[in-house]
Symmetry: C2
DNA sequence: ATAATTAGTTAACTTTGTTAAATATTACCA
DNA sequence: TGGTAATATTTAACAAAGTTAACTAATTAT
C-alpha cells in the first residue's frame, strides 16, 4: 500500500468502526435495528409478503416468521391474508410503525446535516461524488 | 435536507449497507468476525488480560470468557497465568492466530487498492481528507 | 487477621439466526 | 377430474453469542 492508500485505509477503518458501533445490538423506541429495518422495508413496500422480506434481508423464512410475529404482537405491522392466494399474507406498517420510521429518519438527516456543517458545499459534493465512485468500484468487484 | 445533503445521505446509506453486508455473520478461515477482532486485539496487545479485552469490546466478562475458551481450544490464542498475580491470565496470539490476521489484512489492502484504482491520486487524497473531517465531526458530536 | 476488591468462571436465560419437518394452498398435467 | 408437485408460511429443535447473578480464588487494605 502506498501512502495515499494507507491514509484511506485508516480513515475507512475509522468509518467502519463508527458505523458498526452506532448500529450494534441496541434499541431505539423499543425496537432493535433488525426490527427497524423490517418495518422500514414493509413501510416502503406496502402489501409485500414474508417471502419477499426474507429475501430482501437474506435470512430464512422461519427467522422472518418469528420477527413478523413479534412486530404484529407489538402493533408495528399488520398481516392480512390475501383473498387471491390464501397462502400469502400481505404486510403493512401500522401508524405506530410508520411513526417510528419517520421519526428515525431524523437521526440520519441530522448526520447528513452535521456532515454538511463540517464541510463546505463544494467539499460535500466532492465527497459524495468520490464515495459514489468508490462504492461503485467496490460493489462491482464483489459481484 | 438540501440537494447536496440528500445526495450524500443516499451515498452514505449505500456505504453503510455495503459495510454491513460484508461484515455480517459469516466466517472466513473458520473464524467469525467477533473471533477475528478478539484475536487481532490480542495480537496487537500482547499479554493483555481478559478484562482488558472485555472492556475493549464493551461486552461482559462472561461473554469474553467463553470466546477466549473457544479461541484457546482452537489454538488461535494462548492463556498463560501470570506469576505476579495469579488471578490474571496473559493472552497471546498463536502462530495460527497471527497468520489469520496477517492474511486477512490482505482483504482490506485489496479494498484500499481497489479504491485507489477507482480514483486518481488527487481524488483519493481528497476523499481521505473529506472522510476524516466527516468522521471527526460526527464522532465529536456523539460523545 | 479479617474484610473488601478484583479477575475470571459457571449457570441460567434471552435473542436471533439456522435446518428439517409439518400444514395449507395453489398449479399442473394425464 | 384427480393426483402430484410446488409454494408460502409456521413449528420444532438447535446453535451462537450476548446478558445478569452467583461463585471461586487471589490480592489488597484497614
Amino acid at each position: 500500500m502506498n501512502k495515499g492508500e494507507r491514509k484511506f485505509y485508516n480513515v475507512f477503518t475509522e468509518l467502519q468502526c463508527f458505523i458498526l458501533a452506532n448500529m450494534s445490538r441496541g434499541e431505539v423506541n423499543g425496537v432493535t435495528a433488525t426490527h427497524y429495518n423490517i418495518i422500514e422495508y414493509i413501510y416502503r413496500n406496502d402489501k409485500c409478503t414474508g417471502k419477499q422480506v426474507a429475501k430482501a434481508f437474506n435470512i430464512s423464512p422461519p427467522a422472518i416468521s418469528r420477527q413478523l410475529k413479534f412486530l404484529v404482537e407489538n402493533n408495528l405491522i399488520e398481516q392480512k391474508q390475501s383473498s387471491l392466494d390464501r397462502r400469502i399474507f400481505n404486510l403493512s406498517a401500522t401508524d405506530k410503525g410508520k411513526f417510528i420510521i419517520d421519526n428515525s429518519e431524523n437521526f440520519r438527516e441530522r448526520v447528513a446535516k452535521q456532515v454538511s456543517k463540517a464541510l463546505t458545499r463544494d467539499e460535500l459534493d466532492n465527497l459524495t461524488s468520490l464515495l459514489g465512485k468508490v462504492i461503485g468500484e467496490i460493489v462491482e468487484s464483489h459481484t
